[in-house]
């Protein structure tokens, strides 16, 4: 009798569960349960001697939602996310299209260029922008050398610096989904439109762009969510003037030891993000539907 025959059908069905149970158990214990901790924590009372108190309250939500400073930061964070998303789309689309259609033998190299921000550590990338954007940085040096500016421009510790660096970091996240999407569009559709007399512009707006809507949707949602939750870039390049929600939350948790209030802020940010993405999703879905 071989080994295989001694195994009962029940064992054969349950045996493979050994493969999946450890991963599920790990994620349940250290990913799902912790998310309940955030919710519980946000209702805890504050305490002077510990990060959080013993009883429960709603005060952290009411305080945050009625505080104009906090709401201002929330609004700025969302605005920043929107701006970064729009800029990455405008800059990323031509690159994705070029990479999808080019027959250049440098294609592999160009692909590496697009991936490069992803392959280098986040702190390292942001540090690169500090070198470029600081007061004596490469950008100001070049501008002065060209005679365009008399005194150095303020390029970091404000929204401008954070926006530039975030656009750099997240460009690959919009180019890659778009690249896959545009590659899947049959180039003959474009040639057909052209041969039927449509101009290049018309072909783009009536054929290519509508067909790449799924890629645009996926890429923009990804970039928006990543931008509003980014911590390293705003913390390094934003200074005090361009604080975002993530920076404020970490400040509450690490510097002030006000964990319940920090948890409430994190939940407010997450909730706003979910609502925004959901609204956008519904809006763009209708847009795609109405296309001829």
């Amino acid at each position: 009798m071989t080994v295989a025959q001694t195994i009962s059908p029940a064992q054969r069905r349950l045996g493979p569960l050994v493969l999946i149970v450890p991963a599920i158990a790990l994620l349940f214990a250290f990913f799902v349960l912790p998310y309940f901790s955030i919710i519980v924590m946000s209702f805890r009372t504050a305490s002077a001697s510990a990060p959080y108190g013993d009883s429960y309250t709603l005060v952290h939500f009411t305080t945050a939602l009625s505080d104009s400073y906090t709401m201002g930061i929330l609004a700025r964070t969302l605005g920043l996310g929107l701006l970064v998303t729009v800029i990455t789309l405008i800059l990323g689309y031509p690159v994705a299209w070029h990479l999808a259609r080019t027959k250049s033998r440098w294609k592999g190299l160009l692909y590496t260029f697009v991936l490069s921000p992803l392959l280098v550590g986040l702190v390292v990338r942001t540090f690169g922008w500090m070198i470029i954007l600081s007061k004596n940085g490469v950008a100001n040096q070049s501008l002065a050398w060209l005679g365009l500016t008399d005194s150095p421009l303020q390029l970091m510790n404000n929204n401008l610096g954070v926006t530039i660096a975030l656009v750099h970091v997240f460009l690959p996240f919009i180019i890659l989904p778009l690249l896959g999407n545009i590659q899947a569009i049959n180039p003959e559709l474009e040639s057909a439109a052209r041969s039927l007399g449509a101009s290049r512009t018309k072909t783009f707006f009536r054929v290519t762009l509508p067909l790449s809507m799924p890629g645009i949707q996926a890429g923009t949602i990804l970039v928006f969510v990543l931008s509003i939750s980014a911590y390293v870039t705003p913390a390094m390049l934003g200074g005090a003037r361009a604080k975002t929600m993530s920076v404020l939350v970490v400040q509450y948790l690490v510097d002030n030891f006000r964990w319940p209030a920090g948890a409430a802020l994190a939940l407010i940010l997450a909730f706003t993000a979910i609502v925004t993405v959901w609204l956008y999703f519904m809006l763009t879905r209708n847009m795609t539907r109405r296309l001829p």
Partner: protein, 266 residues
């Protein structure tokens, strides 16, 4: 024969080239400035030298941070590698109708912002009484974040071959263990290597989880660099960055050698 290009085309190519340069610029600058012999992170560089790499080698803080990062990333890679590969085999071969749900569940750590996961784990570690006196919370966080990368890559490589080879081995009398070691593993090897290298690179770069969950007195390379840049702004930081860029490049070259970059799917 030379083709003349229209004005629109020239403008398009200019924009595209500008974006390519924009993507590469900070990285190239860091590497060049790390080789600067002068005191400052400024252009034009005064000359080529390795002095800042010497400074780095002499800095106990940075060496400790690099060693911690290597250790945390190594453990995360091994654990995620085993758990992620097993989960992928189950999902593709045995899950049946549950496949979609399981796949989504195992991918969620990738879909949710890392900062939220970091905060959640911080609260949770205190509530279960572990706290952050050791780096155990940080290590677990790294495993949670890197698991989806291994899972995704192995699952993709499993989809690419059908299970009849395994059935053949089994029907010829091979035990499940032998079948796995002699048939399945060689076939999914590229996926496992890619997944593990990704896990290593990602873990080496994780910031938020390390920031909130690192134990007292331990620090990883990204955190150490971040702290260093708050007070100092000299080419040592560029040297550290160049070392970290080189490590990633080496990982990518290994990847290219084993599986070829063209097979990568993001």
């Amino acid at each position: 024969m030379k083709q003349s290009r229209s004005a629109t085309e020239v403008m398009f190519l200019t924009i595209v080239s500008a974006v390519y340069i924009f993507l590469m610029a900070p990285i190239v600058l860091i590497v060049v400035l790390s080789l600067n012999s002068g005191e400052f992170l400024l252009f034009p560089i005064e000359g080529l030298s390795l002095r800042w790499f010497g400074e780095l080698y002499a800095s106990q803080q940075f060496i400790d941070a690099i060693l911690t990062s290597l250790q945390v990333a190594g453990i995360a890679t091994v654990v995620s590698g085993v758990l992620g590969t097993a989960a992928a085999i189950y999902c593709v071969r045995h899950a049946g109708r549950m496949r979609g749900v399981l796949r989504l569940f195992l991918m969620t750590p990738l879909l949710i912002p890392e900062i939220l996961t970091a905060i959640a784990l911080l609260f949770y570690m205190y509530q279960i009484g572990v706290g952050t006196s050791y780096s155990i919370g940080m290590q677990i966080g790294h495993i949670v974040i890197t698991l989806p990368y291994v899972f995704m890559n192995v699952a993709t490589s499993l989809f690419n071959f059908d299970d009849s080879v395994e059935e053949a081995a089994r029907s010829l009398g091979a035990s499940p263990v032998v079948t796995f070691r002699r048939v399945t593993l060689p076939l999914i090897k590229p996926g496992v290597i890619t997944g593990c290298l990704f896990a290593f690179i990602i873990s080496f770069d994780i910031f938020n989880i390390s920031l909130l969950l690192k134990g007292v007195g331990t620090t990883t390379l990204p955190i150490q660099l971040f702290d260093y840049l708050r007070w100092d702004f000299d080419p040592t930081a560029a040297a550290v960055s160049a070392v970290s860029i080189t490590m990633t490049l080496v990982a990518i070259l290994i990847l290219d050698r084993f599986v070829g970059l063209r097979s990568l799917r993001f």
